[in-house]
Amino acid sequence: MKPYEKKNVFRKIKIWTAVVVVLAIYVWAFAGAPIIEIKETALAAMKGMFNGLIHPDWGYVYDPEGEDLLRSLLETFAIAVLGTFISAILCIPFALVAARNISKSRTTSSFFKVVLSAIRVFPELILALIFIKAVGLGPAAGIMALGLHSIGMLGKLISEAIEDLDLSATESIVASGGNKLQVLWFAVLPAVLPAFLSYTLYRFEISVRAAAILGIVGAGGIGAPLIFALNGHSWDRVGIILIGIVVMVTIIDVISASIRRRIV
C-alpha cells in the first residue's frame, strides 16, 4: 500500500468509528426517551397561556403599594448589575495568573485555567440554593451566586484576551526600570481594557437572563412572582411577566450590543 492509501484507510476507519459511536448514542437516547402523553389539562394550560399572552394583566405592571412588575424587574436588573460588578472585579487576579504570558510558569497558568472552568461548571441556580442557606432568601443570595459563577467565564475570556496582547510595551517599561505593578498598570491594563469592558457587558447580558430565573429558588427578582403565577394558573399574570422579561432583556441586549460594537 502506498502511504497516501494507508492514510485514506485510516481516515475511513476513523469516520466509521465516529458514525458508529454517534449512532450508538442515539439508539441509547431514543430507547430511553419518554413517551409524550398529552394530559387533559394540557390543552387548558396551553389555552390559558395563550390567552394570558393576548390579555395580560396590565394592572400588575405598576402598583404603588406592594409587589408589581416594574419593581421586580428593577430588582432583577439590580441583581445582574451587582453580580456582574463583583465578578468583573474578582476575575482580574484570576485572569492575570491564568494568562500564559503574565503568569510565572506554565503550570500556574494551567492550574488556574482549570480552577476557572471548575467555577464555570457550577450552575448559578445551585450556587443560589447554597447561598440561600447561608444568607437567607432574597436578592443577596442571587447576587452572590451570579458574582461567583461569572468569574469563571469572565476570567477565562479575559485571560485569553491578555494572551493575545503584544507585550513589547512591557519590555520597554522593564528596560527603563519599571516594576511588575507598573507593567500591569501602564502596559497590560490599557491594552486589555476594551476587551474587558466588552466581555463584562456580554456577561451582563447573560446575567440578566440568569437573574430572571433565580427567583424560582427564592434568590430575588422576577422569578418568584412568575413561579407563583404559574403554580396558581393565573395565566394573565404569567403573560404580563413573560412580556416584561422579554422586553427588558431585549432592551438591555440592544443597548449593550451597540456599546460593545463601539468599544471594539
Binding site: 419518554p34 409524550i36 394550560a45 451587582l82 472552568s117 457550577f122 447561608a134 429558588v217
Partner: protein, 259 residues
C-alpha cells in the same frame, strides 16, 4: 489644538462612563439592600453548611447514576431536535440565501425573541402543559438550543464564500441544489461544532431543569436539599461536576478538530 480637544473629549467620555457605572451600582445596592454585612453574617452559616456536606455520601453515587443518565439523554435529544429545527430557520435568516428582506427579518425576529427566554423559564412554562418529567425538559432544551444554533449558524452562512454559489447559479441549479451543493458543504463543520457547543451548555442546564419539575438530576438534588441531606447534595454536585467536565473535555477536543 485639535489633539488637545480630542484628548479632552476622551477624558470626558471616560469620566462619564465611570460615573454611569458608579450610579448603576449604587442604584442596585439601594434597590436590593445588598451590603457587605449580609455576606459577613452569612459566613458562619456557610461554614456549618460546608461542615455538614463533608464527607460526601459515597454510597449514594450508584443510586444517582440513573437520573444522571436521564439528564444526559435529555440533553442529547433536546440538542438534536433544536439543531434540526435550527437549519431551515438559519437558512431563512441569512441574507445571501433568503434574499428577500421581509423573510430574513421575520426569521431573525423569531430567533431573537426565542433567545431572550432563559432555559429554566421555558421548562417552567412546559411543565404545566406536558406534565412533570423529562418531556418538558427535552422540549425546553430543544427550544433553547434552537435559539443558540440558529443564531450562530446564520452568522456563518452569511460569511460563506459566494464564489461556488454564483457558479451554481450560472449553470442553472435550482434552489434546493443550490443549498445542498453550494451552502451546506461550507457550513457543515460549523454546524456540527455549534451543535456540540450547545450540547455542552445543555448538559449543564439539564442538571438544574429538574428543579422546576422537568426531570433529570435536578429533581434528585431538590429532594436532597429539601430533606437537608447535605452529604448527598455534595455527592450530586460532585457527580454532576465530573460528568460535565468529561463531556466538555471530549466535546472541546472534537470541536478543535472540526474547525
Amino acid at each position: 489644538m485639535e489633539a488637545m480637544r480630542i484628548r479632552r473629549m476622551a477624558r470626558i467620555k471616560k469620566t462619564v462612563t465611570f460615573l454611569i457605572i458608579i450610579a448603576l451600582v449604587w442604584i442596585s445596592i439601594v434597590q436590593t439592600g445588598f451590603s457587605l454585612s449580609t455576606i459577613l453574617t452569612g459566613l458562619p452559616n456557610m461554614r456549618s453548611l460546608i461542615d455538614e456536606m463533608f464527607p460526601p455520601d459515597w454510597s449514594y453515587f450508584s443510586s444517582i447514576t440513573e437520573p444522571m443518565l436521564a439528564t444526559i439523554r435529555m440533553a442529547v435529544l433536546g440538542t438534536t431536535f433544536g439543531a434540526i429545527f435550527a437549519i431551515p430557520v438559519a437558512l431563512l435568516a441569512s441574507r445571501n440565501v433568503a434574499k428577500i428582506p421581509v423573510v430574513y427579518q421575520i426569521a431573525r425576529f423569531i430567533m431573537n425573541l426565542i433567545r431572550t427566554v432563559p432555559e429554566l423559564l421555558l421548562a417552567a412554562l412546559f411543565v404545566p402543559i406536558f406534565g412533570i418529567g423529562e418531556v418538558s425538559g427535552i422540549l425546553a432544551i430543544s427550544v433553547f438550543s434552537f435559539g443558540i444554533i440558529a443564531k450562530l449558524l446564520y452568522e456563518s452562512i452569511e460569511a460563506i464564500d459566494p464564489g461556488p454559489l454564483e457558479a451554481m447559479t450560472a449553470v442553472g441549479a435550482n434552489k434546493v441544489q443550490w443549498i445542498f451543493y453550494g451552502v451546506v458543504p461550507q457550513v457543515v463543520a460549523h454546524f456540527m461544532s455549534y451543535t456540540l457547543y450547545s450540547f455542552e451548555i445543555n448538559v449543564r442546564a439539564a442538571a438544574v431543569l429538574g428543579y422546576v419539575g422537568a426531570g433529570g438530576i435536578g429533581l434528585t438534588l431538590n429532594n436532597a436539599l429539601s430533606f437537608y441531606q447535605y452529604d448527598r447534595v455534595l455527592t450530586i454536585i460532585l457527580y454532576t461536576f465530573l460528568v460535565v467536565l468529561l463531556i466538555d473535555l471530549i466535546s472541546n477536543r472534537i470541536r478543535e478538530k472540526l474547525i
